[in-house]
Symmetry: C2
Subunit: 428 residues, 2 copies
């Protein structure tokens, strides 16, 4: 279906680098790892000036000789520690900050042979204050946030893989806005050691890549979990479509994305039905900000208390407004989250995956907002694996995605089902 | 009972500073906050040379004018980030390392008005390689670890409060060896942002103080949770005594501590009975190292992979031996932990608290080992609040404590019940 829609011409003007395809060519000896990295460096040189996805770049990055990700150039969101590159958190408070150690996820990439080519832009502290990064699909629009640079760099065809993180909707939403695949894996599948904390209950490291298969290859190599490599396809997944009414109305394009994806999946053999989530899930959606903001006050205590004037305005305002939140309110919110996770586990007794909105609609115009995470935040709190699959191209060449969500811990099924949806959409 | 036992004379030669009593005197205007801090600084000057509890000290620390912990001098384990003092993790790999920000728990202390007077010794990366710190009760013995300096500084009467952390038994065990009170609160009650990670499932920040009431005042002030302040005492707690047979035999002194504490509690009105834990708890005890080591490989990936020669030998050996651990083994261990937590919650339907060993026995002689965490590690994995209460003085002036454990999230009950046991022991 996307192939025949308006905007796909524009899409073809920005070919993306498929990690899995590049890996296959390297394994086959068709391209040397160093040449593969050089390809990305040239693509960055070609597009970076227009997009602004990078904060800094590695000097003379070289490819490794071994490892499943040799020759794969990766961008790292700039809230993730790197020993050899500054880590500035998108904020002048961390100007020229150079961590002693690499974050655990950076080491996972390096151990798998990947080449870190630079740090990608992030909204300050992965909150809401926008970066100057442009959406590669339409430069008049935001790429979304907070993982703005990682999404944009993959979407612009600069690199085949990038790391981001999500506390509200900072992985899935920019992936949807930029028309690429992304996974927010099950909570704790990827370690957060060396990742700047916003909320320890919510923060989740995620991956951006061109297609679902590329995510699977990247995540399998990082975690040494070959079961993520997408073996046998699901042939007749049971799909529950949820519109998250508690989160308010989506825009027309958001609803259309779900409709198109559900219809395509149905035609491809899935059993698709509308599903209403138990009320405790709506309650969990409502208390997400309580958990996020209570923990943010502790996580950002040094920045907020000792660098108040230099704090990013939107985040500072959020913290100002939540100053009086009580431990009792937080405890109550945590209890709701625990009950909601149990209820959601029951839902996955009835369906294989949930299909829902990745964002309210296409990327907003301008750079004053990175968009709204209201259709993401429940899933971040629940900890379930979520995959963004681009569903169609709306007006102005802007893509709109859908989220494929599996049960907690079942990242393999989330990826397999997301590929099913992706292929169903490709068939139209 | 302790007052009449051999060794108490020695104990009286090292009077400790009671946080609650100092707080009362400051509130009453009997001592100025600056004088209270100065008292600690003098005590450090007097004892530090013999004990070696500090890595570095603050320059001219001043007391705050406000806050419940004004005038309270605090020592911070040197794996916890401080913006104004180096944070060296007990390892030359972090020589002169100066974090940009204070850890969240340090900010909690500062916001409550406490004065950070220095960083306390830690075994390298809070693992097993000993420090040179001596046990204040008997200089020929280890103070335990990994929070060696924090336990020793409080026990030597240098400071009224210190922060430590526990992954196996690094808070409760040194408290037992040094004859002081300590709490390992419920997992996640205290944030770990800015605390060097060993295992994100296990690492728990804890407090050391002279007596249980002092812990309660410290923790209540840090967390803004007045319910921890020890209101009405429990009069007839239901106590289950568990000997953790799965962890092997304790030494005579360890068993004696439990016997003495149980008998004293019984005389004070508690209903005390022996309790055998469900088999899944034994299984959880067995898989603790799987979770710890699998996560340690990720948490210390940069140190281990890029600074192998400089790694502390015991930790490096542990990582060498667990290199081939599979994700599947880790996943299975996590599943056991989840089932065990549910089973343990059921146990707390029948009893208010569990009473068990804090360590196998008294502090080992010499500094070659910080002791064995085998009676602690289950409780770290379960996440329940644990309080060490000194039970009696064994030979050589060495104290031996017991652990009082409450249900997950019920830190107030853990403290109240620990005070009950402490008072029962004082009455003999």
């Amino acid at each position: 279906m996307p192939a025949t829609r308006p905007g796909m011409t524009e899409r073809k003007h920005r070919p993306m680098i498929s990690l899995a395809e590049l890996q296959r060519r390297i394994d086959a000896g068709e391209i040397l790892p160093d040449a593969a990295v050089a390809q990305s460096l040239h693509a960055i040189d070609a597009h970076e000036k227009a997009i602004g996805a990078f904060v800094c770049r590695s000097e003379n990055p070289r490819a490794a000789d071994t490892g499943p990700l040799r020759g794969i150039a990766v961008g790292i969101k700039d809230i993730i520690d790197t020993a050899k590159l500054p880590t500035e958190m998108g904020s002048p408070i961390y100007k020229n900050h150079r961590p002693r150690a690499d974050a655990a996820v950076v080491m996972m990439l390096k151990q798998a042979g990947a080449t870190i080519v630079g740090k990608t832009t992030t909204t300050a502290f992965a909150a809401n204050d926008p970066t100057a990064t442009l959406n590669p699909c339409n430069h008049a629009h935001t790429p979304g946030g907070s993982s703005s640079g990682s999404a944009a760099a993959v979407a612009a065809g600069m690199i085949p893989l990038a790391l981001g993180s999500q506390t509200g909707g900072s992985v899935i939403r920019p992936a949807s806005f930029c028309g690429i695949a992304a996974i927010k894996p099950s909570f704790h599948l990827l370690p957060k050691v060396g990742v700047k904390c916003f909320s320890w209950t919510l923060d989740t490291v995620g991956l951006f890549a061109a297609h679902v298969k590329d995510l699977a290859h990247g995540l399998a190599a990082m975690t040494n979990r070959p079961e993520l490599l997408l073996g046998a396809a699901i042939t007749t997944p049971r799909i529950g479509v949820v519109m998250q009414e508690f989160a308010g109305e989506p825009e027309a394009a958001g609803a259309e994305a779900v409709r198109i994806a559900a219809a395509a999946a149905g035609r491809a053999g899935a059993s698709v039905r509308a599903l209403k989530l138990p009320e405790i899930l709506a309650e969990a959606w409502r208390i997400h900000p309580t958990i996020q903001d209570f923990e943010a006050h502790q996580a950002f205590a040094w920045e907020y208390r000792e660098n108040y004037d230099a704090m990013p305005p939107l985040l500072r305002c959020r913290l100002d407004e939540s100053r009086d939140m009580t431990p009792a309110a937080y405890d109550a919110a945590r209890a709701v989250a625990i009950r909601a996770r149990a209820a959601l586990a029951q839902v996955f007794e009835e369906v294989d995956i949930l299909l829902t909105l990745s964002a309210a609609g296409a990327a907003p115009r301008g750079l004053s907002s990175t968009g709204d995470p209201r259709f993401n935040r429940l899933w971040t709190l629940m900890g379930n694996p979520c995959v963004n699959v681009p569903a169609f191209i709306a007006e102005s060449g802007l893509p709109v995605g859908v989220q494929v969500i599996a049960g907690y811990g079942d990242d393999a099924k989330a990826l397999t089902a997301a590929r099913f949806v992706e292929e169903a959409l490709a068939r139209g």
